[in-house]
Symmetry: C3
Subunit: 112 residues, 3 copies
């Protein structure tokens, strides 16, 4: 993230949550507080190791479209509402987009 | 997108559409016209603000594998078939891949 | 991938597989061998061209969270377990994340 702070840094953030209700609560909090323009939810089956054991869980994935200049605040909001000790919160860069949609992200997300 | 025009710029483009029929029509148009190598469809639950109100919708997400040098034409085709005023069309870069698969994207996508 | 080899290169790798059993076998092999920290599975509908014909298939998508310095070994493991001649294996960069989660990826993924 080397852009100057006056340019949007459009990105997608993925978060996983254990239940649909928790996923929806996080999604609504992010959209209502202007930390995301849009969040979509999908059920997923997860496979991972935790303390040396293979685990399989049914979870929900949040796909969050936002301006990554607000990543720290988004991360903090997710952490405060999430029931996991170590929630997955990861971001990838948007390098091209439909300009009116990118503008809509900018207008929907708060600025400092 | 700073690559010279003679090198592929592999990427994933995400589009959301309100109905499966519309999502399929867009997917088929992109694949038939050589603007995408492969499109996958998934049902999603979306949460966003529009004119100050929280909205929740059932939608379909298109995950499009392509050469981003054709992004402008892909964007134009999606826009022409899409029922939204401001459709979501966003792209992220592929930075590594199975070479035969990347070559297949190159062969499937048209060149100028 | 220009990072020095002593810094993690966090990324998401997407793979598609024809059946849930095959997708699960690949996911478990990657997690058990320390080539991925976490894999999630989702059913998808795919549309693509193959030898000039439009094809539609029901498939499973694997979303793999890993350190991309192990991409070559991950690719080789997927290829060895996958029934397709040309499997989709593509990676995008993680440019921001919740530090404890990124650390967990580092601890879960093997080093050379």
């Amino acid at each position: 993230m080397t852009n100057p702070m006056d340019q949007p840094e459009y990105g997608i953030v993925w978060v996983t949550a254990p239940r649909r209700t928790e996923a929806e609560a996080i999604a609504e909090a992010l959209v209502e507080s202007g930390l995301a323009a849009c969040v979509s939810l999908t059920p997923i089956h997860s496979i991972y190791t935790w303390r040396g054991e293979i685990n399989k869980e049914e979870e929900w994935q949040l796909t969050i479209k936002t301006d990554l200049r607000q990543f720290a605040r988004l991360e903090s909001t997710v952490k405060s509402l999430h029931s996991y000790e170590v929630p997955e919160i990861i971001a990838v860069p948007i390098i091209a987009g439909h300009t009116p949609y990118l503008n809509w992200i900018s207008e929907s997300v708060v600025r400092d």
